[in-house]
Amino acid sequence: MIDTHSGSPLAERILTRIETEKVVPRSRWTFVAINYLFWTLGGVAVFFGSLAWSAAIFEAAHAGWRSALPADPRPLQFLFETAPYLWALALLLFIALGYATIRRTSRGYRYPIGLLALGAIAASIALGSILYALGFGRTVACFTHAPFGASAEIILSAERSDICKGMSPYR
């Protein structure tokens, strides 16, 4: 049996406010649904991050290494120019989104930022590698026509046209 008579004027005022403002406890499913929504959004963000990773592998693998490297006197500059920046940026963005959404779940605050970020990166890389092996990297890269550096675009254009033939909406 709970003694509900605290005798406190503050308690009386709060109960009166609850009564007059018709405050009612929100249903549990609302909170559960919100929690699942954030976990799902976090998962979706990591999934998109993995798509970005699969496209990044594809771009790196088809950067025209054989044709460019022997002829180019500055291989480091070639690497710098052909690095898949857009995908790296997309990967970082989705990982940040994943972190931000998971952080908002009921116990998300307990995970250190480093652990969450590493977990999201590891998950994106693992899933992204699988997606690449399944051919999704090519699909994503060709459909979105990710921009390379200007010189790399020239080097790659012919090779790229063949790979993405009939896939890119921009060609």
Partner: protein, 188 residues
């Protein structure tokens, strides 16, 4: 008669809102003292914060995670309400300290590298309260929770909604900021 746990009262509140009065009665004094230590100077402001916090608690009772202690969850709501209060009002915080201030003073003294010099130094509660009032609210809060409310790092993590490692960092920074505000050498 065995006293009901907070969780039992929460369960009872869903069917009888009068039971909520028992929770309010149980925490009113503790939370008022916590707000005093945070620097909420007037009784009216403290009561407003508590009223709003308890109303939010009541409205969100179903979101109470049984993995936490009810006490930590309630402190979290009051903490959030107090931080909103400090953001909205630019009034200078006025920390009210009781004997609990001694714990923090002892902690600061114990950390002095030169113990012989530290023995000569004395710090009064008023000076400490004054210095605490000048700290950013977040730092004041972690010191209040740790040294005045005697909360563990795990509980503070649940109250402040940050990882345990961050709690430790915040305490360290808050103590450093506090030391910088205290007279050197510490004298009474």
């Amino acid at each position: 008669m065995e006293e009901s746990t907070d969780e039992q009262i929460v369960a009872e509140t869903f069917s009888d809102k009068e039971a909520f009065a028992a929770l309010i009665g149980r925490y009113e004094a503790k939370l008022t003292r916590y707000l005093e230590r945070l620097g909420v100077a007037t009784r009216e402001d403290r009561e407003d914060i508590l009223q709003n916090a308890f109303i939010k608690t009541y409205r969100n009772l179903a979101s109470f995670d049984q993995a936490l202690s009810f006490s930590s969850w309630l402190y979290r709501i009051v903490h959030n309400e107090a931080m909103s209060f400090f953001r909205a009002r630019r009034a200078r915080p006025q920390v009210i300290l009781d004997e609990a201030g001694e714990t923090l003073i002892r902690e600061l003294r114990d950390e002095e590298a030169d113990t012989s010099a530290a023995a000569e130094r004395r710090l009064g509660s008023e000076q400490l309260a004054e210095a605490l009032g000048q700290l950013p609210p977040r730092y004041r809060d972690v010191l209040a929770l740790r040294y005045f409310e005697d909360r563990s790092y795990a509980e503070m993590s649940d109250i402040l909604e940050v990882p345990v490692g961050t709690v430790s960092t915040l305490i360290h920074r808050a103590k450093r900021a506090l030391r910088a505000l205290l007279p050197d050498p510490l004298t009474l």
